[in-house]
Amino acid sequence: MTTIAQETAPLTRRKRRWEGLPYWLILPTVVYMGLFFVWPMIQGFGLALRDESGNWTTSAFQTMVDDAAFGDAMSFTFLLILVIVPIQFVLALGMALLLNAKLRGAGIFLYIFLLPLAISDLAAGIAWSAIFTERGYLNTILEGVGVLEQPFIFLDPTSKTQLVMVVAVAEIWRSTTFMMVILFAGLQGIPRDYVEAAEVFGAGFFQRIRHVIFPMLKPSIQVALLLRLIFAFEVFAVVIALTGSGATVLAAEAYKWQATNENEHVAAAYSMVILGLSLAAAAFVLVVLRTPRERRLR
């Protein structure tokens, strides 16, 4: 006993000297996030729920809801999500499977597929507006091949359906990569033997996806959908760049109330709505894609 204690004594002493070290190392991050993340968020609640003199009030929310743009922003945001996320999920899964298929030239495909990840929503909106505008590239092509007689107005401010579709295309283009990266990382965690075993027993491509890849990929799917839905409520610059004032979304309203109307209370109320919806979406994904304990693979 004593000898062991003597032997380990220097070690524990050395350990003790460094015991506080990890806390010192994380301290700056904790302080920074406290000051610039947690505190502003608490302040945000205050801004949304209190007036100038500090009394609790729901007047900011009242103003927000009474504004005609609120309903428009809400419905446009939700419509976008309903159109974008399912298409995007299938596309992202397909792209991840393609990258995983070890095609010739995989390096080039990888580079191209990843490009939109580093492109801002504003740049995406501007690029796609050059395509969709009346005197733009899409009309040039469609007229060139004879599908159209005269330019079609894709960005018609009176047609909500068209605006949703156009913004959806740009958003699918921009943000599918983000899901793909997460799904691809998940795919790489699936042992090849499993897929090969299924193949040996005669599972076709879609059967393999449905019965082997899908269940094993579930955690990644969950994360990808979760983050994608959270970010979907932030959609902003693409919509403004493509539709001008033809359509509005929640984040654009928050921006308008803050920057143009200079009413930070209503802007904060909008941001609280965005927060609430993000968290609800996260909870929704976690509940819907929950794996019962007895069916967990790992």
């Binding site: 460094w18 070290l21 990890p22 806390y23 190392l25 994380i26 991050t29 904790v30 610039f36 993340f37 502003p40 968020m41 302040q43 945000g44 397909g94 393609l98 095609l103 495909f109 580079y111 597929f113 490009l115 580093a118 492109i119 929503d121 504003l122 740049a123 995406a124 501007i126 690029a127 507006s129 050059a130 395509i131 005197r135 733009g136 590239y137 040039t140 092509i141 990266v181 997460i182 691809f184 990382a185 998940g186 491509f205 990644s220 983050l227 932030e234 902003f236 610059a237 760049a241 001008g244 928050a254 803050q258 930070e264 904060a268 941001s271 609280m272 965005i274 993000s278 968290l279 996260a282």
Partner: protein, 272 residues
């Protein structure tokens, strides 16, 4: 029997990969040729799908227009400040997670991950109010501080995963050879983590360079490039918007090339 089926599958895979590539590249290609064509060509209809003559007229006029070089400079400053501060305070935290098991390590990690559920919009508006009160509204520092709050958690998580991939035994060996703990980190762990840290820096750069909402809310006159472009969207000519859009998008082409491997290995895993 099975052979032709596999071949057809392969063929379809190539067709799909090429089609998706075309979809991804088309807007990038079109905005690039627009940005490098003459004013007349930008406004012409039908458009040229192939570049007729490359001219820098559109780009030059954009870069010479009011406040653009300043906003460009500010965008670079904001990104640089974000990178420096994020790495300076995030890397040590990442190291702590990777190397020590301490009480609260899991809670700390979980807190960092959960910050992702909170959109930047939520902190941007209160920050704008605070900045006005403190007097740092309309400054590069103000914008950078918001960007740091957004990128710091991921920086910590990514660097943690980078350090976790470097064997601790190398540091121990350095310490038995006379290095102190800190000099072992400095001389052994950090150089080995360099690649991953550079990837983090690039990721921070991209996020900051692209960020529109907070930048547009925290600045009024002295705007960053995306904020400037956003504010000028409905008042500026098409040539200005296209050139600006290209400028905003161009770094992506280089950046993705540098960090493509890291994106899939480290980032894809950590992002969850």
């Amino acid at each position: 029997m099975a052979l032709p089926r596999i071949r057809i599958g392969r063929l379809l895979a190539y067709v799909a990969a090429l089609a998706i590539s075309a979809f991804v590249l088309a807007p990038i290609y079109l905005i690039t040729i627009s940005a490098f064509s003459s004013f007349d060509a930008v406004y012409a209809y039908p458009k040229n799908l192939l570049p007729k003559e490359a001219t820098t007229e559109t780009m030059r006029v954009f870069l010479e227009s009011d406040g653009i070089t300043d906003s460009l400079r500010r965008s670079v400053y904001v990104a640089a400040i974000s990178i420096i501060v994020c790495l300076a305070i995030g890397t040590p935290a990442g190291y702590a997670i990777a190397r020590f098991s301490f009480r609260g390590a899991n809670a700390f990690q979980l807190a960092l991950v959960s910050t992702r559920a909170f959109p930047l919009i939520i902190i941007a508006i209160p920050l704008a109010v605070t900045y006005l009160r403190v007097g740092i509204d309309d400054t590069v520092y103000g914008v950078a501080m918001a960007h740091i709050a957004f990128t710091l958690p991921l920086t910590v998580l990514v660097t943690a995963s980078v350090f976790a991939g470097i064997s601790y035994e190398l540091e121990e060996a350095a310490m038995t050879l006379g290095c102190s703990r800190l000099s072992a980190i400095w001389r052994v762990a950090l150089p080995l983590a360099r690649g991953g840290i550079v990837a983090s820096a690039i990721f921070i750069f991209v996020t900051s360079w692209n960020e529109v909402f907070a930048a547009a809310i925290l600045t009024f006159r002295d705007r960053t490039l995306p904020a400037q472009l956003l504010a000028a969207l409905d008042t500026s000519p098409l040539t200005y918007r296209l050139a600006g859009g290209f400028f905003l998008l161009a770094p992506a082409l280089v950046v993705i090339f540098i960090i493509r491997k890291y994106l899939l290995t480290t980032w894809g895993r950590v992002a969850r």
